[in-house]
């Protein structure tokens, strides 16, 4: 695990807000030279603290009016291989995230669709056809907010 000082934390905060800022622009904000900033960002990337970058798109403006979170319980544990299920579900383009969880459900999926009838199509033709699927619970996303997390 890597130790972060105040400057690293400030850098992380800046980058998790806008990752397109150049090292010199970031340096100016934090009072660092451009090479020093670059070295710190590289260290954060190398240590895996920055896992990657994400483009934040307005799904609705791109025609995806509905986001649904599904809780899926596998019906036949032991008989169906988890690998098969995971591979098949990850290959569905409308499935944005797949998380293996412990508790009421086995998997949590984030699914985007153009509208409710498009969602119904994805649910019936794709998700309910997956190997081993049992109970499915659906919750339609109304709003979401990502928080910066404990890097104050």
């Amino acid at each position: 695990m890597i130790d972060l000082d105040t400057t690293d934390r400030q850098l992380l905060r800046e980058l998790s807000r806008d990752a397109t800022q150049s090292a010199s622009a970031l340096g100016r904000k934090l009072g660092l030279s451009q090479p020093a900033t670059w070295r710190r960002v590289k260290r954060l990337r190398d240590a895996g603290v920055i896992r990657g970058q994400r483009l934040d798109l307005d799904a609705e403006k791109l025609g995806f009016g509905v986001t649904v979170f599904l809780g899926i319980k596998l019906a036949t544990k032991g008989r169906v291989s988890l690998d098969d299920f995971e591979r098949a579900v990850s290959a569905i383009p409308e499935v944005q995230t797949v998380e293996h969880i412990l508790g009421l459900y086995d998997y949590r999926l984030r699914v985007v669709a153009r509208d409710i009838s498009d969602f119904e199509r994805i649910l019936r033709r794709r998700l309910m056809m997956l190997p081993g699927v049992g109970d499915i619970e659906a919750n339609v996303l109304l709003s979401e907010e990502r928080r910066p997390g404990p890097i104050g």
């Binding site: 998380e99 619970e137 919750n139 997390g149």
Partner: protein
């Protein structure tokens, strides 16, 4: 509003948001000037909201991630607002989502270990207002997390 060129640019940009303007233009087979103009327009009209770094909390020593599914006491007219307002103050809450369905809200909470989680749960989460019921789901693994839109 968007044409095929815009979609093509977004497709490539989504798969690698760290691409430079020149590389992105190259992959989407447009000139750098066209690419820059299109991106600028999509930023201006809010199609592109941002481009941010994703932090791996595991690498910072946060080993535990829990999804808390919260049902609120609907007899309280301002339950939703008051709950989310307070939940936002907890630094370990990294995501707040609201739903139409069996669950009202979901909080993503990270903690260093189970002991830290238990302490957070008791001192911060359970003191949030208007909770009728909470269910906890523990994260085991993330198998797909790119959140790419099928454009």
């Amino acid at each position: 509003m968007l044409d095929d060129t815009d979609r093509r640019i977004l497709r490539h940009y989504q798969h690698d948001p760290s691409l430079s303007a020149a590389d992105l233009a190259d992959r989407a087979s447009v000139t750098t000037a066209t690419c820059a103009r299109r991106l600028e327009r999509m930023q201006a009209n809010g199609v592109i909201r941002g481009n941010y770094a994703v932090i791996d909390w595991h690498a910072l020593g946060y080993e535990v991630e829990v999804s808390l599914r919260v049902t609120l006491d609907k007899t309280q007219p301002r339950a939703f607002e008051e709950f989310t307002e307070k939940a936002k103050i907890i630094p370990e809450v990294v995501e707040i989502q609201s739903f139409l369905g069996r669950v009202d809200l979901r909080l993503s909470v990270i903690a260093r270990d189970m002991q830290h989680y238990q302490q957070l749960y008791r001192s911060a989460i359970l003191t949030l207002p208007h909770i009728a019921d909470i269910e906890a789901l523990m994260h085991v693994a993330r198998l797909k997390s790119d959140e790419i839109l099928p454009l």
